[in-house]
């Protein structure tokens, strides 16, 4: 053993010092930026949401957030999740609700907001809140005028017993829309446009009968 040469190992302390030092510096920079931008980001997101509610429920002038608990709709309190936004006109008449829904798109989960008008029994507006769909292709779901035309009066009327939607909203191939409950797709954004049809179909089938059945929960509340 005595005759063996010992291999000199590099001192690991400088490496350790560099990695820990850079890690701490980077962590600090990230935390400072996050904390610095958070109030503005939250405010911008809230403003964007409010704008979106008025966009998907044309003709309303006031909104109020509700949540679904214990089998009924109640005004939302701070910290409540899964909010539903009720819209009222100038006279305080309850017009409809804006609902958030999400589902898998092409790149990632797409989060949308859509408006349901109780009088028309139809989806009357749609807006993409969050999407990572390919710019120029998948993001046509937000811009394509023919696609957006689908959501001006998308039929979600209820069956005679008012317990389910008569025809669930379904996506169809571009140019083949024949019924008011079908969503005409987009060429070049097939997966993304189909995803929107399916998201609204699933969410409306679940929520529309509940909201219509308990519309008095929204009507009887005084507007602040």
């Amino acid at each position: 053993m005595n005759g063996e040469q010992t291999i000199e190992r590099p001192n690991s302390f400088p490496m350790f010092r560099a990695m820990v030092g850079i890690g701490a510096l980077c962590g600090l920079l990230i935390v400072l930026t996050y904390e610095g931008t958070l109030p503005r980001v939250l405010r911008l997101k809230e403003e964007a949401l409010q704008k979106a509610i008025f966009r998907v429920l044309p003709g309303i002038s006031q909104t109020r957030a509700f949540t679904f608990k214990n089998g009924g709709f109640a005004p939302a309190e701070e910290g409540d999740a899964d909010l539903i936004y009720a819209g009222y006109d100038d006279q305080g008449q309850f017009k409809g609700v804006a609902l958030e829904a999400s589902g898998q798109g092409y790149a990632d989960v797409i989060r949308i907001l859509y408006g349901y008008d109780l009088e028309k029994q139809a989806v009357v507006g749609f807006y993409v809140l969050e999407s990572k769909e390919t710019p120029g292709l998948g993001d046509k779901i937000e811009k394509d005028p023919n696609f957006l035309e689908n959501f001006k009066a998308l039929d979600v009327s209820l069956s005679d017993d008012l317990k389910s939607v008569k025809n669930i909203v379904v996506p169809v191939k571009s140019g083949t829309k024949a019924n008011p409950w079908e969503v005409d797709g987009i060429t070049g954004a097939t997966i993304s446009s189909r995803a929107i049809g399916n998201i609204i179909g699933k969410s409306s089938a679940e929520w529309v009968p509940l909201i219509y059945g308990q519309r008095s929960d929204f009507e009887k509340r005084e507007i602040e």
Partner: protein, 207 residues
């Protein structure tokens, strides 16, 4: 990297090098993922180019300042950590500037981490040079990358969508070349620009 010879390059040389002589896209053919993916409209190309240039500048500054502190065994890990930090900061900053802009670029911002242009500048230049030269190098390379991305984005948007920065350019009956906004269009446009760039450089060399 090219050997720069015995003449000491000035700051302007460093800048021009990135913009033209060693343009990261047209000469070094680096960072092809964002070049092909985010160049389908002029606005996306511009925003992505600016975000990349900012990350490149900030990481070059930090790498250059810390060059004597980082042992060579852990240099790549350190550079990646620094680059990822500035990408995260850019992401937050874009969110704070505009929700709409973040919505259209969100998917691609995180990809800046793996842009080999930024790592290559940190490794080949900033880690061996003083702060001033590293800043000029980053500004040159960043502007060169932005210029190249914009060249591709402008052509693809005009032909593929019939518009420029969202403003319609042609009569209503114009048939858009949809292929230009598809991935194949990115390759076609890049090939065309490489051809033009190389012909120009060859002419310059011959003159």
């Amino acid at each position: 990297m090219k050997n720069k010879g015995k003449n000491i390059p000035t700051s302007t040389d460093e800048f021009i090098k990135g913009l033209w002589k060693e343009n990261p896209v047209f000469v070094q053919v680096l960072g092809m993922c964002p070049v092909l993916a985010v160049s389908n409209t002029a606005l996306n190309a511009l925003a992505m180019g600016m975000a990349t240039a900012f990350v490149l500048l900030m990481s070059n500054i930090l790498v250059s300042l810390l060059r004597n502190f980082i042992p060579k065994e852990v240099r790549i890990a350190s550079y990646i950590l620094i680059i990822a930090t500035f990408v995260t900061i850019t992401d937050y900053a874009i969110q704070a500037i505009s929700v709409e802009l973040h919505k259209s670029l969100g998917a691609f911002i995180s990809l800046i981490v793996v842009n080999c242009l930024i790592l290559s500048r940190a490794e080949a230049f900033a880690s061996k040079n003083k702060l001033g030269r590293s800043i000029m190098d980053a500004l040159g390379m960043g502007t060169g990358f932005l210029f190249a991305l914009f060249c591709l984005g402008a052509v693809r948007e005009v032909l593929g969508s019939g518009s420029f920065f969202g403003v319609s350019l042609f009569p209503l009956d114009f048939q858009e070349w949809v292929v230009m906004i598809l991935p194949a269009g990115g390759f076609f446009t890049l090939a065309a620009w490489l051809l033009i760039f190389n012909l120009t450089k060859r002419k310059e060399a011959g003159a």
